[in-house]
Symmetry: C2
Subunit: 515 residues, 2 copies
């Protein structure tokens, strides 16, 4: 057995059985080893942003890491933006990056670069494997590090000679992934006391998948104590829809967020961080809470949030809450010219049970929550790190993780162009993803921001940098060019029919919704 064989066997022994890949020459022994192990599912991305974004989406839905396979420093670099999103989602990812043979590095061959330097900013754990004897221990520790609480990006740099050389005594290392940390009883008691002290309190959730049970428990606490309940904007995954507790996220817009938090006297963090502005603006605060607001951490990301909330609910003697707190409901469908709101209303009507909704709709997605409180129950996956190009790959990975659930990607057109190659992977793997492109043909959010900085009318240079027209992108042709069936719609009725069609079939479909 060579190091590459041992690596594959160790991944499989540690329950990593999907590899999102874009290999090169220096990883060819690893490719050969994967080829000999059909129980590892290898999914090719035609650009590395697809690979890493899919690993993020997979982790958020599977609750366990996939492996990536990236080619040297440039391949890793191309994948870093979506690793940034994965990092901000606490997604476990075993990020495998090939490097030259150890003895070859000194010669500075053209593809040589500082892989550790590139990996470190987006990784919670980085290690080089320099010999086949080390591979199994290092790979098992990488899986553990990725799966650590909270999840993180664990980058394993595999030298070509560590892959191709044989190990004399190859024993496979299996390590149990760490369990979530238990929150000390004292912190539960402290939180219970705070929630009873009569101050205006917000319970802020974040840091890990907020499933229906966690939300139910949090809602019990809020109801019993009178606390406000909110989720972080960048929550990795949120259960929503009819029959589930509705939890709003902190608004993106600075003024709205500040207004919402102004009255809060104490903040109880459950896996969340103190909310801060996404961007700084002249004369505006960075921290969104009032300076006088006191902050108490019930649980850190990586703690057992569910158990902590259950214990807190018990400590408060919080009564159970009737289920189905959100009834199934949708506003009447408007007619005529399509806009983003009409799309969200149509989704409220048509969303299938247990769908997965990935959201990189940016400005067009602002009202999705407002209109879909009563939609069929679904999981909602937002862009966590703000790195553009997350949506299409995330939807791809979520569909690999959950082959029996419909995935819907709410996709801004500008953002979609960063990683449109994901459509090919969806076609190749016949993934059940409906992509809705909100085609407003501009970086609409930036037009707003340009106004904010005092430039009232965008001139030629600004328009050339913020508009996506001249020429307009034709998403039907782009999708078709990668093997994904697609349709362009401009009316509400047309969109409704296209969405019905997309949901009536299995496999990828794209709707270009011209706004």
């Amino acid at each position: 057995m060579n190091g590459a064989d041992i690596l594959c066997d160790t991944l499989l022994a540690n329950d990593v059985d999907v590899c999102f890949a874009n290999p090169g020459t220096s990883e060819m022994h690893f490719v050969a080893a994967l080829d000999a192990r059909p129980q590892m599912r290898c999914v090719l991305g035609l650009a590395e942003g697809v690979v890493t974004g899919a690993a993020d989406g997979y982790a958020r839905m599977a609750g366990k890491p996939a492996a990536t396979l990236l080619h040297l420093g440039p391949g890793l670099a191309n994948g870093l933006a979506n690793l940034h999103n994965a990092r901000r989602a606490y997604s476990p990812v075993v990020n495998i990056v090939g490097d030259h043979a150890t003895y070859h590095l000194q010669h500075d061959a053209p593809l040589t670069s500082d892989i550790e330097g590139l990996a470190a900013p987006m990784s919670g754990w980085v290690r080089r494997v320099t010999s086949p004897a080390q591979v199994s221990q290092d790979a098992a520790e990488a899986v553990c590090a990725a799966w650590g609480r909270p999840g993180r990006v664990a980058t394993l740099i595999l030298h070509a000679d560590a892959a191709w050389n044989a190990a004399e005594h190859a024993s496979l290392v299996r390590l149990a992934p760490p369990a979530p940390r238990t929150v000390p009883a004292q912190r539960i008691e402290d939180a219970a006391r705070l929630l009873n002290n009569g101050k205006r309190t917000m319970l802020l959730l974040g840091g890990c998948a907020l499933d229906a049970a966690v939300l139910e428990c949090a809602a019990r606490i809020a109801s019993a104590s009178g606390a406000q309940l909110r989720a972080e904007r960048a929550v990795p995954r949120l259960a929503r829809g009819a029959g589930r507790m509705h939890v709003e996220r902190i608004p993106y817009a600075l003024a709205a967020a500040v207004a919402e938090l102004r009255e809060v006297e104490q903040l109880v963090l459950v896996g969340a961080q103190v909310p801060v502005a996404f961007f700084a603006y002249p004369g505006q605060p960075s921290v969104l809470t009032d300076p006088a607001c006191s902050v108490h951490q019930l649980a850190a990301p990586g703690d057992d949030l569910g158990a902590a909330l259950a214990a807190l609910a018990d400590a408060l003697d919080a009564p159970a809450i009737a289920p189905a707190s959100e009834p199934r409901a949708a506003l009447p469908l408007p007619a005529g010219r399509l806009d983003a709101d009409a799309i969200h209303i149509a989704l409220a009507h048509l969303l299938p049970d247990d769908a997965i909704v990935c959201d990189e709709a940016i400005t067009s997605g602002v009202n999705f929550f407002k209109y879909t409180r009563g939609a069929a129950p679904h999981d909602y996956l937002p862009l966590t790190g703000g790195a553009i190009g997350g949506g299409l790959p995330m939807a791809t990975g979520a569909a690999v993780a959950c082959p029996r659930r419909k995935v819907i990607d709410l996709q801004a057109d500008g953002s979609g162009m960063y990683t449109l190659q994901a459509l090919w992977t969806q076609a190749r793997e016949n993934l059940d993803v409906a992509t809705i492109v909100f085609a407003n043909r501009s970086y609409a959010i930036l037009h707003g921001e340009l106004k904010n900085v005092g430039a009232n009318a965008a001139g030629r240079n600004a328009r050339r940098m913020l508009d996506l027209d001249q020429p307009a992108l034709d998403w039907v042709k782009l999708a078709d060019g990668m093997g994904v069936e697609a349709r362009r719609v401009e009316t509400v009725e047309g969109f409704f029919r296209a969405l019905q069609y997309a949901l009536s079939r299995r496999g990828p479909f794209l709707i270009e919704a011209v706004l």
Copy 2:
């Protein structure tokens, strides 16, 4: 004037008047400043690999830097692979990356990351601008650093508050770019003595644009001394074709390169490095020259190669060489089924005078040199760093630099998919680029490498990672979806007609050559 205004004015004052951009919120004051200065040409790329690759292509042809504009760490990360290629081409690039306001960083907002850490591996110079008072000095030094000899990637990290705050005393800094270093006379004399000592000698050129005059001088030296003349594989730019000295590059294939260098007893480097294997292979050497070969550096990258070669030619009393050393000629065009060789022969027939040929054809490009020695004179720009996705952006930037020259991009289909968004920029700017996609529908080079590692028949997992069929990419639709006219051809006759058409018009055109 705020810092952003001062930055724009400083760039213009230092002869940087093109900005390849993909901005975000934190760069909005810079966008507003660019908007107020129409003399700066702003070119949008829909993904950052397009932005940085275009800056590389621009620099290679313009001989001066363009600026980039990238959004925070993730935007930089997306552009790093083509900055790697730029670095290996010694291309001057003023790489401007926005960052949060200085005081906002401590709050670890979602888009925060270690920008310096990300930039360092691909940059020769990195600096943060933290106040508007510093901007002009820092920006002028960035231009100088980029333009330094040799050229490099100079990354200037612009904090949002350094952009939006006003400077009290804004005086614009202008700095003269450094001149190429003069090679000491002793090194010329040493080289002249070596070239007369009767040993088998190779003169290896590299490190900067090898124009016709430099090649002529090198050829005189080779002819007078009996030395072999070669160029590095990763030469940034090479003048070729009828009427110019023909210089072969060191072969990519390890065995061929070793065979060619085996007999060389002494190597004289002119801006070049000692040739090393692109990748390591088990049991094969990393350094391509014989261990007994002695190495002498006439000129380092950044030295004045032209002057050094002229002085050396004089020292050797090397007689002038008749011009037109390569007559115009092309093999007869084959007929029927298209293959890569037929494409190169057709190019030899049809290449217009003074074309710029960008080459990311990978396996399909191997014989381009063989068939086009007698083609019309042209500049040849290869992939220097091996980071895939360089071709389409490089062609885009070269066309911005040289609006009156036809640019032809020899483009492998797998590599093209990494940065296909460049086609939109070509359409938007109406750039005169003909893209020839060699559609073999696989990572053909990796199939070869997989055989090299002993895996004779690729199984399902390997095929799923190395083949680009199922579904086949439709490049005509992809191009059309981004506003670029395109045609698919499968025969030599069809290709010849399509190329004639592409060359008969101005503006972008894509030929999908199915192999």
